[in-house]
Symmetry: D2
């Protein structure tokens, strides 16, 4: 039988829609299994500040549909110091919390890995980030919602782009990864997609622009991941505007709307499955792993592997934008 | 080199959001590969009536975001007769159409299988139905959109259920399959889910109702698949209302809103992938297969297999509703 | 100077989106004016049960976007008795609450009027109902949101209606009033609208059906207010289906989704204005009045007038459906 | 009897959701009254280029729910010259078009006024702009939809703002007018609103920022109209960020999503009413007027009056933001 009697849960790093669904599942799974469960506020900083309170079934009533995180999130500088982590550990000990579920991205798991090793403390991670850039899971919590948010925004911009026969460059989040740009580009019928992972996509864009104008497309949309190597949407639009005066060029940077909103059905189900599985993993004496969904099944990946490997874009999806915008 | 020079595409059976995205991908993939492509109106009936027209790249501009199907859909009695199918074949021959892509559900594929064998005619199917009840694919086109539509509707009903502390029975589509009810139940935080595949779930409901009332839940939502063996939502609500006068019971039947709406990002991407792959499969001399997505990869399943096997509900998801509504 | 030092606020009757925005405005206006403010739970029943708590500025943080009502709503049988109202009065006195703001429909104001006269107690009402059937205001809180909910639902059904060339009868709320049916009918491009206020509209429908079929409309949508005198949508669809076998007839009853959802911008602004004005009216020694918006200005109407007069449908809007569906 | 036998309709200037609903109403009203009706593409430029085609009832089927404009829009330099307008007039004469309905903003009406006087040609205008900055109507077509778009975006940003306790400056459209910023600010519960019409609002913001931080608000949202005199959101955020290092400041510029999207119920009804009324006004021999909605009634305002007067912000609404964000 497991030695775990009490679990803490926190959200850390950038927030993502569906985090509340994951918190709810962690809390309800604990109660179902007769474990106590504690909410830690503002990520690791709440551990240090002892900003922790016990949660009950109705603490998480009616939150599955809410964006953001009821536990709030923050980046903690203090937790990067050994001293800060000592304080955190002491607070956990004082409250007899035996294990942690941490919801976040790679920064969150880096902290978790160090803390877990330093104090031999069981931690299981749940991938929550709109960027979908975590190795060890096909989908991160929040990615599907952000995709839908981007696609709805591009649909709206398409209305006005078509009315005026304009060329729009739309910047979406993704400093190091083009997952969001690529899938939302396909889903919104974008004429081209620029992502950090591919160096040659600007040539394709150039080819398309010369071609598209000849075919007299009624509007053109190019999605740009903020981390693309030629620069963000504003830079690229300037360049294209100068070289192609025949286009009426506009820019929109979607910004923080991508982080919020009521989570999609997909994210709510994934978050609920991962939340349950995180508690089960801890009860099965697992530690220092990230829960993931691969091929629609729950899988475990050691933090170390999740952090040092890089998830690749699907090359078939990259190829598709070229064919579909013909 | 492939002998296919010209492809017809049609939608048949109940329409589903994302069918237009699939049509667009079929058309663009044909043009990209220098094939001619023809749209057949109103499913198999259009083949018989010779209601067919050539499509071009801009025939499918600005449709990726639209629900319904620009080719319209219908059920054709005439195509069930050999005579009807002869007419259909003659019309295809007259126009030099070498192969078909058919988008629909099991009725569609049954027709395709017979016609393909009878006339040795290459047909590839794309699964389009909100019910997700097709073997050979993890997701059918329209399922994810319908899930989001149901979840948004239940979120709205939850508002009023909570304001009045009511028990709602909400009926969702699914005559033979509980996929839609099950996932939307999890995603909307339903207290219980009744599906055709499980005979004992009413006992669980009974258990929950006795329990939930004691805990004084502020509202309770039960999702009922229309095909559940105890009857639809109205029947069950009547039964529960009589046995539990302590509950203020209401019913909503979501109905045809579940079939419409702008497709979700997920459905648009899946539909686009399947559309491209259907054309590629025909160019690779495949026939009598359904395109599917399994483990996020394109797979082929012979019509015969797709039709005679039954896809099972994920038992872990069934178990989850019990834990999460504690 | 006003003798009011402390105000109670409650919601009663059917809930409507925007009630929370009104509660928030009442609370903030009280605090801005150095009054204490108390939330009464579950309408008049909470007065009787002494289910009342003081509210603060952050009690109403982040609720402006939520459907339902944080104060919950209920219909109270006990408040219809003099004894019940005595208890309510005693509880108000014990807490030194000097006045009430009640948010609801005609049932709510009937209770308010009796209680106010019986105990010489200042009460101001805010019209909150999706039906828009209150005399003394152009718009009730929740009406605009419900309109948008209905229109989005009909847009979805239009997708599938068009794909199959069907005739849909869609039933919307409105037992005694056709406001919701009429405006949502115009906004969704319905081919006909049946409302309780007009006896002859079925003849127009009949005329349209004979005409529309000839013109081969691709789909037809008829909106039916639940209180229409020929019966609800199911009854009418049966009748039409029998008399017009050339139509493929379907029915959807929209039901309780019409009561929920995040309130529209319009409802949030109206609710905020009315909430502020209700507090100001009490501070100005007003009583037994309903706050309303007429010609975009705040107006006061005595409860008695609001209850005994009937608001009429705009005849120009009725005429419009005929012209626009040509 | 009116001498008008044939009407042209065009959209000009920035597009706005609901323009299609207005076009549909113009077309159907013409047909209902046995007039011919012609669509002019790309605003006044289409008159000059003779890019005009006859419209029928089903030309406007299924467009009431679409953003943008099926007639496309553009700004025409050539129409500003007498020569250009001569060409336009000749093309109208050749097609026997007797009158025009023009949908747009003040630039559109300026052109209409000159052309109408120069050629004694009957023109009626319909106000279509998300800015709501036209004198002679309480609401312009597109304003209500844009309000809802902004409010939904701010709701999403509020999720992430709250999760991280941040201060967001959100820039909305409105170069000369704060209507959009003001109403969306109230509806989204913004802590402050900065508009071009008010010079002192930055002091109020400063006051709030000092106060809000003390009260430890969980998040703060400030809406900035792009035309505010201290500069757009980026400039203001820089200033505030330097002076208040205690705030974690972020900026989002909503951009062109505000112009698109399916129109709200309110805009569809207003657009339909105005479209009908424009045709009726021409049949009643009116000219050089703008159709408007004042106090929920159709009113006529001479172009000259609509252009030279400025609509004022409602001072009560300005006052409200201060009270509601307490």
């Amino acid at each position: 039988m497991s030695s775990i009697k009490s679990i803490g849960v926190l959200t850390s790093g950038g927030d993502a829609p569906g985090m509340n669904a994951a918190i709810r599942a962690v809390v309800r799974a604990c109660i179902y299994n007769d474990l106590r469960v504690f909410g830690v506020m503002r990520g690791y900083q709440g551990l240090i500040d002892n900003d922790i309170e016990e949660l009950h079934s109705n603490s998480v009533s009616n939150i599955i549909q809410s964006g953001g995180t009821i536990l709030k999130s923050a980046r903690s500088m203090e937790f990067k110091t050994q001293e800060g982590r000592e304080k955190a550990y002491d607070n956990l000990r004082k409250r007899d919390i035996d294990a942690l579920v941490v919801i976040g991205g790679d920064g969150t798991f880096t902290g978790a890995r160090i803390f877990g090793q330093e104090h031999n403390f069981p931690i299981v991670g749940i991938p929550g980030t709109i960027d979908n850039d975590l190795y060890g899971t096909d989908y991160t919590i929040g990615y599907d919602t952000a995709l839908n948010t981007v696609v709805e925004a591009v649909d709206k911009i398409r209305d006005t782009a078509t009315a005026h026969s304009r060329l729009f460059f739309i910047e979406v989040m993704g400093r190091d990864a083009g997952f969001l740009a690529l899938r939302s580009g396909i889903a919104s019928g974008a004429e081209a997609v620029l992502v950090p992972e591919v160096r040659t996509d600007f040539d394709q864009l150039e080819h398309f622009l010369q071609n598209g104008f000849k075919k007299n497309k009624t509007s053109s949309i190019v999605l740009v991941a903020e981390g693309d190597e030629i620069g963000g949407a504003i830079k690229i639009a300037d360049k294209v505007g100068k070289e192609h005066p025949e286009y009426d060029v506009r820019v929109t940077i979607l910004g923080h709307i991508q982080r919020g909103g009521s989570p999609s059905a997909f994210d709510r189900v994934s978050a609920s499955r991962m939340g349950l599985s995180a508690v089960e993993a801890l009860m099965d004496d697992q530690k220092s792993i990230m829960i993931g969904l691969a091929n629609n099944q729950i899988v475990h990946t050691p933090f170390n592997q999740a952090l040092k490997n890089k998830k690749a874009l699907n090359p078939q999806l990259l190829e598709m934008t070229k064919i579909l915008s013909i």
